[in-house]
């Protein structure tokens, strides 16, 4: 059997991107949170903020480490598997990705060293500054990468000459029409992800009656933020959808499960799309609501999938279902955040074990939602690599063979499985160990000999080993 390098390269790229995406979406939000904690500590001198910041910095360092190494892979994957695409679009993508490196990556990587290891070596103001630079770096990075990605969805400011893209307007190309929505959607997703992880872990500590002083503060902060961010995300997501409806109507048709172009389209809640027969099975729909949402008119015209030939349509099932998973999780988030905020306002959040439990269950969901969202937008662009300009099949490396891609795909899966398993294991240990108790804070710390964290945790593991034997 002949191995298809195109299909395998797509699987490889999807795998690597999906694996990578879950790290930055968490670290962007968490970096901002750590910067806030450091600022609070700087201003109030309250050791609670320092303990919280130290704890979440440990988590951050683990996750950021995995994000960095998987991100390096991305920078080279364009060249190894999609060299024709890279060569064609280099005049735009090259400078954009380079700007990401010089404005963001260096900032993150360099100041992270000071944030992690410099607490006792630099003045407190410089340490706070480093925390802010790491947070700023993660943000700038997401701006550039989303600019590049958005441009592939809504290309602008360029001309295609002899198979090479030339930039005619940098502002139009960088600030292309879908960038503002995509950036806002992603930034909010990052805050929501970081927020639910902090809230979930803090709620879990409270349920276990551990670290109450730090956990109470962390929970309160994250709930207030989530109660604002989650409903806002619904609004931003809707605006993003309207932009997509204008720019990539076929993607929206796949998201909504609309086969025929129609006026007064329904909102389909549930269906099993059938690409072969160009229809839906077991459809549950609300009449006219689809048109109302997308065109703000009950009889507005909504483009259907059959308006383009079958080879120009994305795989409908993946897009349709990923979209429902993302929206469904988003709605759960709104309910949980608002309920928690309500209980918090009444001063009863800590006495609501069911809500606290629900919050701990939320921890994995933002990651699922983010991946589902990526599937919607990326699979929804198929078969285009650059919308209406270059197909996936035109972008692949000419010398590549199915065997090579398969070997490296298996290699990446193996490497990432090891890294991810170990990372989760150490994350679990850091979280089980929890923040340092506040009691032995500032006053006697300088008097004690400094113990490396490794020494503390090896004690834990050695005890566990003894208990097992």
């Amino acid at each position: 059997m002949e191995l298809d390098p195109l299909l395998l390269s797509r699987i490889q790229f999807a795998f690597v991107v999906s694996f990578h995406a879950i790290f930055p979406v968490f670290t962007i939000g968490l970096a901002a949170y750590i910067a806030v904690l450091e600022a609070l500590y700087y201003r109030t001198d309250n050791p609670v903020w320092e303990k919280l910041s130290k704890f979440w910095t440990k988590v951050f360092a683990l996750v950021f480490g995995m994000g960095v190494v998987s991100g390096i892979v991305m920078a080279f994957q364009f060249g190894t598997n999609w060299s024709t695409f890279s060569y064609s679009s280099a005049n735009f993508l090259g400078p954009i990705l380079s700007y990401e490196v010089v404005t963001a990556f260096f900032l993150e990587a360099t100041f992270l060293g000071v944030l992690l290891f410099g607490r006792d070596k630099v003045p407190r103001g410089a340490h706070l500054f480093s925390a802010c630079m790491v947070a700023l770096g993660t943000f700038i990075s997401s701006f550039w990468i989303l600019s590049a990605n958005s441009w592939m969805h809504t290309p602008a400011g360029v001309e295609f000459n002899d198979g090479i893209i030339q930039v005619t307007s940098w502002t139009q190309a960088i600030f292309n029409s879908s960038l503002p929505y995509r950036f806002a959607h992603m930034a909010l997703a990052s805050f929501i992800t970081g927020g639910f992880v902090v809230a979930g872990v803090s709620a879990w500590y409270l349920l276990k009656e551990r670290n109450p002083e730090t956990s109470r503060k962390a929970l309160k902060m994250s709930i207030v933020m989530l109660a604002i961010a989650t409903p806002l995300q619904l609004v931003v997501g809707d605006l993003h959808g309207l932009n997509t409806f204008e720019e990539q109507p076929i993607k929206v048709a796949a998201m909504e499960g609309h086969w025929e172009t129609q006026e007064g389209a329904p909102l389909i809640l549930f269906a099993i799309p059938d690409s072969r027969n160009e229809t839906n099975h077991l459809e549950i729909a609300i009449p006219k609501l689809g048109s109302l949402i997308l065109t703000h008119s009950l009889d507005g015209e909504v483009t259907g999938l059959t308006s383009v030939p079958a080879e120009d349509r994305p795989p409908v099932g993946i897009v349709f279902w990923s979209f429902r998973i993302m929206v469904g999780i988003g709605l759960i988030f709104i309910v949980i955040s608002l309920a928690s905020a309500w209980q918090l306002w009444r001063g009863k959040l800590e006495a609501s074990p069911r809500l606290l439990k629900a919050l701990t269950w939320m921890i994995p969901l933002p990651f699922v939602a983010v991946l589902a969202g990526w599937f919607v937008t990326e699979v929804g662009r198929q078969p285009w690599l650059i919308q209406d300009m270059m197909r996936l099949s035109e972008g692949i490396t000419p010398s590549i063979t199915g065997g090579m891609v398969l070997v490296t795909l298996i290699g990446y899966i193996a490497v990432y499985a090891v890294v991810f398993a170990a990372g989760l294991y150490y994350l679990r240990r850091v979280i089980l160990a929890g923040p340092d108790p506040v009691e032995d804070a500032s006053s006697d710390e300088s008097a004690r000999p400094k113990r490396p964290w490794s020494a503390v945790s090896s004690g834990l593991e050695d005890e566990a080993a003894k208990a097992r034997s």
């Binding site: 130290k54 920078a75 060299s83 890279s86 005049n91 090259g94 360099t110 070596k121 113990r451 490794s454």
Partner: protein
């Protein structure tokens, strides 16, 4: 654009960027290569702590090299990466394993730490070897039609690239051991002083082999060194003198001079390589000017880079200043 040759400016920028990477990640990869040979766990702790705050920034120069090539010389990017497909995978896998080892090693107990020691060593060695093989492949040349690589997946793997790969492993180990001398005290430094002369001898042996082999492997290189300007021979001469100087300083147990000397050696190797290959970006046919991107794109990025690189160098220098001096095995991870 006739007044300023943007492509030439970009050759200089990318050239400096790649060299920054080789020097900076070179010594922290070297520390990883040396890991199994360190006398004890305390030495390993000290060695890792000496690079923990800075390795991430060092490695970013590699990403800049990759992204910069795509921006300024897309053809180099689009030919090198497919040609080195398997090698690139090995490089990335190596960098992944050594990168996570920094975090995981210090969070693991005595039970599992040796796994991350191995991961740090293996990853660093494979990454260094892959980089040496990339340099060897560049000298060797590529099978290209139009703007695309058309050779096989393992064409890069030849006795010559195996040798350049091992040469870079030895070279990075030399950077790593002289860095260790600079950053440690006591038994760790004593050990480093014992190992360093042997590594220097190994590196010079590779230098001699490469110097003989390269002109044999590439007609272009042979012509450059034997038919043209004889003034070029100053570079091998300087290399030998630098090596002798390092030997001398190692014998006198000077802490900083061997590291400075090793960096100078790398600079001389690097200049020698550039002289040999000039002006070919994708040998044996395409020059840097053939491989260049649109002048508008080169200019757009140049404006930002000229402004930002000094800032990056500034804060990088600051962090090296913050973490100056000898490391202490008990100190580094207190706040983390």
């Amino acid at each position: 654009m006739e007044l300023i040759d943007l492509t030439l400016i970009w050759i200089v920028i990318i050239g400096i960027g790649v060299f920054m990477y080789v020097l900076m990640d070179g010594f922290d990869l070297g520390v990883g290569i040396l890991f199994p040979f360190a006398p004890d766990d305390r030495a390993r702790d000290e060695m890792m702590q000496s690079v923990a705050p800075v390795w991430d920034g060092n490695e970013t120069w590699l990403i800049l090299g990759g992204a910069g090539l795509l921006a300024a010389f897309p053809m180099v990017y689009a030919v090198f990466l497919p040609a080195l497909y398997i090698g690139v995978f090995l490089l990335l896998a190596g960098l992944i394993f050594r990168g996570v080892a920094f975090e995981f090693r210090f969070k693991s107990g005595s039970e599992s730490r040796h796994w991350w020691d191995r991961s740090f060593f293996g990853g660093s060695t494979v990454a260094a070897f892959a980089q040496g093989a990339v340099a060897g492949t560049y000298i060797q040349g590529f099978e290209v039609e139009g703007f695309s690589y058309v050779g096989g997946p393992l064409d890069w793997l030849t006795p010559f690239t195996l040798m350049t790969g091992l040469g870079v492993v030895a070279g990075y180990a030399l950077l790593g051991i002289t860095w260790t001398i600079l950053k440690t005290e006591g038994s760790t430094r004593d050990w480093a002083y014992r190992i360093a002369p042997k590594l220097l001898a190994a590196v010079m042996a590779f230098f001699v082999i490469v110097s003989i082999w390269t002109p044999l492997a590439s007609e272009h290189v042979r012509e450059r060194w034997f038919d043209h300007v004889t003034a070029l021979w100053i570079f091998p001469l300087l290399t030998v003198l630098t090596a002798a100087w390092i030997f001398n300083k190692l014998r006198k147990r000077s802490d900083a001079a061997p590291f400075i000397g090793s960096m100078t050696l790398f600079a001389l190797f690097y200049i020698g390589l550039l002289i040999s290959m000039w002006p070919y970006a994708v040998p044996p046919e395409h020059t840097f000017w053939d491989a260049a991107s649109d002048p508008g794109s080169q200019l757009f990025l140049l404006l930002g880079v000229l402004f930002l690189i000094p800032i990056i160098l500034g804060y990088t220098a600051w962090t090296y200043w913050v973490f100056r001096g000898k490391v202490n095995a008990d100190e580094g991870y207190a706040g983390h």
